[in-house]
């Protein structure tokens, strides 16, 4: 929709947040949990996102990324995973001991494999 139309109505239609389980792709989640089982311990407290340096400067959000992985939403994950600098500060604050850096690294690896049809 063009900006002109948005002005005409004074609002825009919010994008749908509907999760379609028929089209969601769980391959990335399975790839990660097999290699980094601590990922299943995450209870989405958001400590990682709060301490994240990349998140201070970009829209990167590790908790949101984990949600994309769990839901099998690959398209937004593809963009999100490139923003992490792999500094590892999130590792220090995670109360569940999740190896978050490895989760990001494996997610990037899984995405690359998906693109090469190797997953």
């Amino acid at each position: 929709m063009s900006a002109g139309q948005a002005n005409r109505f004074g609002f825009v239609i919010n994008p749908s947040r509907l999760i379609d389980y028929d089209t969601s792709d769980r391959k990335v989640r399975e790839y990660i949990t097999l290699r980094e089982p601590s990922f299943t311990l995450c209870f989405a407290c958001g400590g990682c996102a709060a301490t994240c340096t990349a998140g201070q400067h970009t829209s990167f959000n590790l908790r949101r990324m984990n949600t994309y992985i769990r839901r099998g939403e690959i398209e937004p994950l593809r963009e999100e995973v490139t923003r992490c600098m792999l500094c590892g500060k999130c590792l220090l604050v995670c109360p569940r001991g999740v190896n978050t850096r490895n989760v990001v690294s494996l997610a990037a690896e899984a995405i690359r494999k998906l693109e090469r049809n190797e997953l």
Binding site: Q5, F9, G10, F11, V12, N14, S16
Partner: protein
């Protein structure tokens, strides 16, 4: 499960709907946007079913929109509703029939509050007496007008001139029913079928020959809300909720949508126009929109009332495809012709033209 067990459980989902003598309270939205609906209800009740329905011109808005928009305090709305009860008491009526689902939710919320917090009832009695000098009795029954049409659905079916059947194929029309959230989601026992199995519109549609579509987002809110649409910039929340429902029902190719809440019917009609204007998308068959009717309008069509007297021409999504399927002959040239022969204003960019 044994049939007796089923009957016992289902009995808990029923509500008492009186047979006659109603004090009718109108709806701000319904009489504004669906101008023929309430008149149609009254005509069916009085002329076709021979019931006593009383209206008092001193009845006012329930102020529900202001209450849900956080600008009318609860004490104020209790006093306004108490005044309505006082009018019913003065007229000698004990059964309230409510046109609007928002009002219905307000009335049930207030009655529940008075039941559990009797001091609020006493305070309201005092407020009303000081403000107006009136006193009131709590009504014996509270029915939504759709409850009443539901109760008499078989009688309407027996008098029907048209059925919800596609005359070209002989198959039942596919109908989406949408129940307003405030009908039974807040106080399940106040609705037929409760919050889990609301049967009020299903019963009508099945009695009149149609088939109900059970689609994934069937019980999702239409998005009406109050704060969502009162603030223009927030209307994206409202329209996206309706769109979620349209996308969910689209694969089932519904012939029409029927609603018992005037707000739901208004937005599901108007948002189809807005989505078409913004994104060029429609959700009905052959690139058309899905007509949205109030239950009174549908009852009126079934009874053979003139669609233009019911006010169907003032919906954004026009009903001509539906009328053709039902075999109802209505001249499009007379759509905007008043009874005195003058031309009524014609809305622009209607869908299904």
């Amino acid at each position: 499960m044994k049939p007796e067990g089923k009957k016992r459980i289902w009995a808990e989902y029923q509500k008492e709907i009186p047979d006659d003598h109603f004090f009718y309270v109108r709806s701000c939205i319904r009489q504004t946007f669906f101008a023929g609906s309430e008149q149609c209800f009254l005509k069916i009740m009085r002329d076709d079913l021979g019931k006593d329905v009383f209206e008092d011109p001193r009845h006012t808005t329930c102020t529900g929109i202001g209450y849900h928009g956080d600008i009318v305090p609860f004490e104020t709305i209790q006093t306004v509703v108490a005044r309505h009860f006082a009018l019913a008491t003065e007229a000698g009526y004990k059964n309230i029939a409510i046109s609007c689902v928002t009002s219905f939710g307000i009335y049930t919320e207030i009655l529940e509050t008075w039941k559990h917090f009797p001091e609020t009832l006493e305070r309201t009695r005092e407020d009303l007496y000081r403000a107006t000098g009136r006193t009131f009795e709590i009504p014996e029954t509270i029915s939504h007008a759709s409850d009443i049409i539901y109760k008499f659905r078989d009688q309407i079916a027996r008098k029907a001139k048209y059925n919800l059947v596609d005359i070209s194929t002989g198959k039942p029309l596919k109908v989406v029913e949408h129940i307003g959230c405030h009908y039974s989601k807040m106080f399940p026992k106040s609705g037929i079928g409760g919050a889990e199995f609301p049967h009020v519109l299903v019963g009508m549609v099945e009695a009149w020959g149609g088939d109900i579509i059970d689609y994934p987002e069937r019980r999702h809110c239409c998005g009406f809300g109050f704060r969502q649409y009162l603030v223009q910039a927030n209307r994206g929340y409202s329209i996206s909720a309706s769109r979620k429902k349209f996308e969910s029902m689209e694969p089932y190719q519904p012939d029409l949508i029927i609603g018992n809440c005037p707000g739901c019917a208004m937005f599901m009609d108007r948002w189809q126009y807005t989505i078409k204007e913004m994104d060029g998308i429609t959700y009905g068959k052959n690139g058309q929109g899905i007509p949205v009717l109030t239950y009174e309008e549908l009852a009126g069509l079934v009874m053979g009332y003139n669609p233009w007297e019911l006010g169907l021409q003032y919906h954004n999504v026009q009903s001509m495809p539906l009328l053709r399927r039902m075999g109802i002959k209505a001249d499009p040239a007379e759509r905007f012709l008043a009874k005195d022969g003058t031309r009524l204003p014609e809305p622009a960019n209607l869908i299904n033209e």
